[in-house]
Structures are given as structure tokens and as C-alpha cells.
Symmetry: C2
Subunit: 228 residues, 2 copies
DNA sequence: CGTCCATTTGAGGTGGATCAACCCTAGTGG
DNA sequence: CCACTAGGGTTGATCCACCTCAAATGGACG
């Protein structure tokens, strides 16, 4: 994978990761004395493909990543967006089950899966942490199934905004890393429907736009009430 | 939970469970010397509710179970059907994240979650098995998000039939335990749309119906090709 | 300043939802 | 053993939320 990659190596270790507290992955790495490498991917670059052998587990240090599945005719369902601090690519079987791509220039920390699993056999805390990360992904997927199967377009967009608000807006303004098509493919909508929903929320004074991807939420309570 | 339950106790242990080989749960129970109890629920009876404390983990012995989430106005998304052999209700957090109901009269084997977690701290194989079960659920959810977000009604029904064929039809005929509404709520469709899709598949000679829930697949290859 | 995309907006089409009969069948009770 | 009933399932007619296709707008970057 890496030999073909356009990404560039950086010196590993010896850096304070820009990750807030509660960094499970960091805890594991430290605790188990694992070797973590840093790597960067260019915008729109593939990190791994669906069904490829899962050799590494990844943590976003900066940038953003989308993981998705494709149908044969190109229809795409994004399963999750991965933002700084998030772990992705953790599998228990031999292969990745989704494709991962960098949305922006992205740097990741990566660890050999094998070494993580090794650590899990000797350290129950590591084992539980890995299980817990998979369980968190499952919980996200269960909520997302409800969204995809039963929510209206406006409800989906409201849920998306609240999720992103929670996950990336420390400041008042949130800077979305992804385009309208990505949002649509995450929410099971077209990019036009996403755009129309955002326009309507803007017209209703529920959010402010300064550039299509710079959003300020003016009325979170209203969004929560739309979230059914 | 059980004090309010209409279910009835049966003598635990001392029975050969009607579970085929590869019974992960059984392996854990045997290996770790855990106490498993048997319990039965009546048709349409709730097994546990969303956000209730997750005290037990369940395995279906006979019958069928649906697990789902509800929106405030009653819209329902079924996350999974659980058939004999399947484990459900396994959580890592304190509470159940979906509601579980018996579709038919159903008997389950149950184990205290606490005792499973206990076993996981001393036996890495148990820990890995638990992780693996959560990972399987996640994989199912990832596939289902693709279905809910991007597949047409006919593709969803074809996928459903193939899933049920794989999971419960040892014989030529498959006996669906669930009604059209359940299927719709699993596939993100209405019961009418499910019915129309099945009628069309019947008209096209792809399946045979003897009673609405007794289905014989005549052309699996065709169904697979519709599964995009 | 011009080019290239991403985004917005508009107009019209459609797949699946909704609303409404009707049918079938398993269970019930006479 | 059969008539009745209730609930699940099917089918038809219509509607509408979202998709599709198209064009205009805007912002970033050379």
C-alpha cells in the first residue's frame, strides 16, 4: 500500500499529538510500548481500499477522512467521517470492509494491526479498549441506520449539523472539511437536497453561512427539535 | 425486568441446544464455566427496552427476535432480526441501545453481562470472542447502511430474501417469522412497497409463495444480480 | 482577470408513500 | 364440521418528497 502511496514519511515519535484528553489510542500505544508511525496523505488520496488486507490501524492527527462502500454502478454510502483524534481501519477479520480516503491533506498515526492484537492477548485493558472502539463504531452505525431508514431530508441535515457541531466546533464557527456531495452520500441524499436544506435553515435564521463550508449554528435547540 | 415479564422459567442446563456448530456463545459458556439460564418470551413480548440497563446477554434458542430504535412519532427502524443461534443484547456500555421484542414465542439462553465481562478479564479467548461478536454486528450494520442509504426498493427486498435464505432456509422453503411491516421497518420501506416487490418477484417467476410467509426462491442468481 | 469547480437555484419527473378497498386465511366458537 | 371474524396481506389510485437535469452564481487560485 505504502509503496504506491503519494504520501510522505515523517519522523515518527517524538511529538505531542494534537489530540485532546481521552485519547484511547494514545493510551494503548503508550501502555503497550507499540511502535507508531506517522504518515501523510494528500487530499482525495486513497488510504486503503475495500477488501484490501487490513495491515494497519489508523488515527487521524490532522485533516479528515471518509470511509465508504460503493455499489457496482457507483452509488456510494459514506459510513463515517473521521476527524482528528478518531481511529479508523480497525478490523477483526483479515480485510478492510470499507474504502478510506483523505478528504483534505491528512496526517495519521498508524500501528500494525498485528502488534495491536498481540498486545491485546497479554493486556486485558488493551483488549477491552479495542472492543470498546468497535462498540462505539457500532453505536454510531445503529444511530445512522435509523437516520437513513426513517428520517426526512431536513431531519438528516439537522442531525448532521449537530454531529459536526459536537465533533469539530470548539469555536463558534464550524469549518466543514467535506463537500456537499460527501454530505449527501453520508446522509443518503443528493447534494442538491443537502444544499436546499441548508439554504432553508439559513433563510429561517437557524444558521449563518460564511462561505459554503463555514457554518455558525444560531439555534441548536431548534435543530435538536428537528432531530425527531 | 424478569419480575414483570410474562415469560416462564424453564429448568436451565441439561439440554442439547438446537444450535449448529460454530456456536461462539456456547463455546464461551462452556469454556468459562458460566451460568446460563433459559427463559421464554411470548410472541410480541418485549425482552428489553432501549436505554434500560443491560444486565443480560441473550442467545436465541428457538423463535425470532427483532431489535429496533424508535423516533418520537413512532417511526421505527429495525436494526436486525435475531434467529436461533444468534446472540443479541451484548453491550459494552451500561444500557441497551435498542429495544428487543420476541416476534414469535421465543426461548433464549441468557448470561449475566457482568459474568461475561469478568470472564473476559481472565480469558483472552473470551475477550476476543466478545470483540468478534460486536465486530460482526458492526459489519452487518455497515452493509445495512449501504442498503438503507443507496439501494432501491427492489434491491432491498432482494437483499433481504438472500439474507434470510442464507440464515434460515436449510430446506428448500423458507418460513419467514416476521410480518410485512417488520420487513418494511428493516428495509426502510412501507409494508405496501415490500408486498408489491414480492408480488413482482412472484410474477416474474423468481420466487414461489405458499402463504405469505412461506417462500421458495426459484432464481437466487437473479436475486443476486439485483443486489447491485 | 479568467478559469475551474463547488454550490445554489429552478423546473419538472418519479419512486415510493399514503390512503383506501378488498382479499385471504388461521383461529374461534357454535 | 362449518360459519364468522380479525388481522395480515394484496392491490389500486393518487400524492409528494426527493431526485434529476439544467443553468446561474460564487469563491479560490493562477
Amino acid at each position: 500500500m505504502f509503496t504506491q502511496s503519494v504520501g510522505t514519511y515523517k519522523t515518527p515519535q517524538n511529538r505531542k499529538p494534537p489530540i485532546e484528553t481521552g485519547d484511547k489510542f494514545g493510551l494503548i500505544v503508550g501502555r503497550a510500548n507499540l511502535v507508531a508511525t506517522e504518515f501523510t496523505y494528500n487530499r482525495e488520496e486513497e488510504i486503503y481500499g475495500e477488501d484490501e488486507p487490513a495491515e494497519y490501524v489508523y488515527q487521524v492527527l490532522s485533516g479528515a477522512v471518509r470511509t465508504y462502500k460503493l455499489l457496482s454502478d457507483g452509488r456510494r454510502q459514506i459510513g463515517a467521517f473521521h476527524l482528528p483524534g478518531d481511529v479508523f481501519g480497525l478490523e477483526i477479520g483479515p480485510n478492510h470492509r470499507l474504502t478510506a480516503e483523505a478528504i483534505l491533506d491528512t496526517s495519521v498515526r498508524l500501528i500494525k494491526r498485528h502488534s495491536l492484537e498481540q498486545a491485546a492477548t497479554t493486556d486485558v485493558d488493551v483488549a477491552r479498549k479495542l472492543w470498546s472502539m468497535t462498540a462505539s463504531d457500532l453505536q454510531h452505525a445503529e444511530n445512522h441506520m435509523l437516520l437513513l431508514g426513517r428520517k426526512t431530508a431536513m431531519e438528516r441535515v439537522a442531525a448532521f449539523l449537530l454531529e459536526m457541531d459536537r465533533r469539530l466546533s470548539a469555536a463558534a464557527m464550524m469549518a466543514l472539511p467535506m463537500c456537499r456531495r460527501d454530505i449527501g452520500d453520508y446522509l443518503g441524499l443528493t447534494l442538491e437536497t443537502v444544499s436546499r436544506a441548508l439554504s432553508e435553515l439559513h433563510d429561517r435564521g437557524i444558521l449563518e453561512l460564511s462561505g459554503a463550508r463555514q457554518i455558525i449554528l444560531r439555534n441548536r435547540q431548534h435543530l435538536r427539535s428537528m432531530n425527531a
